[in-house]
């Protein structure tokens, strides 16, 4: 049984890596997915820290809905650029 502290530290590191990818990657699609992954790891971290209510909100809104909304907006922007070009 791995102690919870180590799981929490690993999750924190994963969040940092994903956040770095989200900021530094040149492709917007990769950035959006990485930002979603940050939320997903954060929700697992909340679960580890015994806050299931917050974890559910984070998983549903942070990594689910906001990622989808980003994709819709990205799609819209791309189409508008194509129209103007």
């Amino acid at each position: 049984m791995i102690p919870l502290k180590i799981i929490a530290i690993l999750l924190g590191l994963a969040i940092l890596v994903m956040a770095f990818v989200a900021v530094e990657n040149k492709k917007l699609v990769v950035s959006i997915i990485a930002a979603g992954a940050v939320s997903l790891f954060a929700s697992v971290l909340y679960l580890v820290l015994a806050a299931p209510d917050v974890a559910m909100t984070e998983a549903a809104i942070g990594s689910g809905l906001s990622t989808i909304i980003f994709f819709y907006v990205l799609n819209k922007i791309k189409k508008e650029r194509k129209d103007h070009a």
């Binding site: 299931p52 209510d53 559910m56 809905l65 819709y72 907006v73 189409k79």
Partner: protein, 234 residues
């Protein structure tokens, strides 16, 4: 170059601040007085097995009303901006480009997601979760439906009707608490029921059903607004 220096400087200052506050922080081994009061008297006063729900809906019910209002405001502002940018004549998308796998899977999974969402907000007083989480899950089920069939239109009349009716019912329940019980959003207007069963915790399940419907309708409204305007531009 200058920009990078600024970024590094901000990060260093932030790190110093964080490190200082890490030294100041002591892991609390005891609950503070308010939390002790809630943890000790919450189960008897409110009757909810999930103490978080007891705090969110009853002790801090007014904050929940504020949050729902802010979400409503956000949804209306997004709808307003998207509607003002383009005329509301959604063309039916012909030849939807989604794959057979996505369409079939969505047909199977969407009802299950809706069911989970409804379960989460009806059982908000027993298990983790509640109106907000359940509403978000219902809305993500709708997102899956829209992703699989981009040509599908969601009735805005239905969404706004569900949203307004549940919002008004939430406030009316709060005012009923003011009249029949000891204060705004007091949950003891209904009987306490047996602790830990579905029909317990007074009005909390009813309130959470309305909150869940309202949040679900608001988030679905945002998503379907976005989806319809992207479709129009094609």
């Amino acid at each position: 170059m200058l920009k990078k220096v600024f970024v590094v400087a901000v990060l260093v200052v932030f790190a110093i601040l964080l490190f200082r506050s890490y030294g100041l922080m002591d892991a609390g081994t005891r609950l503070n007085p308010v939390a002790t009061r809630y943890a000790q008297d919450g189960p008897e006063e409110v009757g909810a097995a999930n103490l978080v729900t007891a705090v969110i809906v009853t002790y801090r019910g007014l904050d929940t009303l504020g949050e729902v209002t802010i979400l409503f405001l956000t949804a209306s502002i997004i709808g307003f901006f998207l509607a003002s940018g383009s005329h509301q004549e959604p063309r039916s998308a012909q030849g939807t480009g989604t794959s057979e796998i996505l369409q079939t899977a969505a047909r199977v999974i969407t009802p299950i997601i809706f069911l989970i969402g409804i379960y989460v907000f009806i059982n908000g007083h027993l298990t983790p979760g509640g109106g907000f989480q359940g509403g978000a899950i219902v809305a993500s089920g709708l997102v899956l439906m829209l992703l699989a069939n981009p040509g599908r239109k969601v009735s805005h009349t239905l969404i706004s009707a569900v949203e307004s009716i549940s919002g008004i019912s939430f406030v009316i329940l709060g005012i009923l608490g003011l009249i029949l019980a000891s204060g705004f959003l007091d949950n003891s207007i209904l009987g306490p029921g047996r602790f830990g069963t579905l029909f317990s915790a007074g009005a909390i399940p009813v309130i959470y059903i309305f909150v869940g419907l309202k949040v679900g309708a608001e988030l679905s409204g945002i998503v379907s607004n976005l989806q319809q305007t992207t479709k129009e531009d094609t």
